[in-house]
Symmetry: C2
Subunit: 233 residues, 2 copies
């Protein structure tokens, strides 16, 4: 871990993270408490079952939040990107394991102190509430996908989400980079590695998708057809 002393005002996510709800002056309370840390890929930030002692904002990088059964079956219940909030305030034990997927820069607050700031800053509390409601909506949408959509629909839907979120239009379609490994993608979509791989191969074979070597960089060549594969909605 490397400490990264920085002023909040200069922070890359000053306007998108929860801090966006606070004036520069108000930020002092958070700022004094927050500790910037750069973690390498694959580092566990919080273990399910352990006391949840801190919260954080993602400044750069990416993380996964996983729930798992006692016998090791795993499900990624959320992916976290810059500006997202990490942690479970008002809850004594963490129910999720949070792990960095790539080198990740976090702004970490002690949970108790963070809760205190929330107490004192209604606008931040409101923002947290709205974000939590949005996460809940998203989680419910994913419940529907996990329970009712086919493997093909899930994979296609994921690519479309990526396209909407980080896609860049290139010469022969929309270029997207799958930000996680096949294994993590399988854990996210509720499938196995093999099934994910096969579905991507099918999309490639049908000409809808181009997959560059390495398997991470893709080109959506025919969005309309991909939407057809993804099924309704």
């Amino acid at each position: 871990m490397i400490a990264v002393p920085t002023r909040c005002i200069d922070c890359a996510v000053r306007d998108v993270a929860l801090c966006a709800s606070m004036s520069d002056d108000e930020l002092r309370a958070l700022s004094d408490m927050g500790r910037r840390r750069v973690l390498p890929a694959g580092q566990v930030v919080s273990w399910a079952g352990e006391p949840s002692s801190s919260c954080a904002s993602v400044v750069s990088g990416a993380l996964k939040a996983t729930a798992s059964t006692a016998d090791g079956r795993e499900q990624i219940v959320g992916l976290l990107f810059p500006g997202d909030f990490v942690g479970q305030p008002f809850q004594d034990d963490a129910s999720l394991t949070v792990t960095t997927l790539v080198a990740t820069d976090l702004c970490i607050y002690p949970r108790a102190g963070f809760e205190h700031v929330v107490d004192d800053h209604p606008r931040m509390e409101r923002l947290l509430l709205e974000r939590t409601l949005a996460s809940l909506s998203q989680a419910r949408g994913r419940m529907l996908s996990l329970a009712r959509r086919s493997a093909k629909e899930r994979v296609a839907g994921f690519l479309l989400e990526l396209a909407d979120h980080t896609g860049e239009s290139g010469p022969d379609g929309i270029r997207v980079r799958i930000p996680i490994s096949r294994g993590d993608l399988a854990d996210y979509l509720g499938l196995t590695i093999e099934t994910v791989s096969r579905q991507l191969t099918l999309l490639k074979a049908s000409g809808v998708l181009g997959v560059a070597r390495g398997g991470r960089d893709c080109t959506i060549r025919d969005r309309a057809r991909l939407e057809g594969v993804a099924g309704p909605q």
Copy 2:
């Protein structure tokens, strides 16, 4: 719909619904706005896609919140019981369809007015935040189940949840009443009616579960064994 004029102070869920966060005096604001309505079973309270114009507290009865694909596949993403909050504040369009499962008594507020009350009552906002965080945790647990647990585990797990929530110990085990139809249970567990029925039959055959005629009233004869079937956690 039948109007049920009542004073909040006498309300059955005065101490468990969101109103528990408010003093008797403060309740006046909500009280003036709230409208009690008794709806029959099978009534849609809010349609996915339509503007979400109201919120409510469940006073008695039960409802289901469903998400569905455009081609009609359905998933129940939440069951709602007395004291629970219904609705999606701070969101203009409903993403879920909410339907009564049995005759249900609701205390309905116009959404705008409700949001206003939340603005003015930090304790209510905090309670709403905590409940939303709890719902999110629950939704994530269900994502894990829907994606990774077998039909057998889901059915057994559901019965155990019921036992913990509403079970009464009887002479030959824990008596539980399945509060919904096989169809709704299937929609909740992410299975088909037939699979749910078969799993219940298997549990009955193995002596773990007693099922009375009608199929709704069950007796968990061997909780330990049922927990074994439900799998880890």
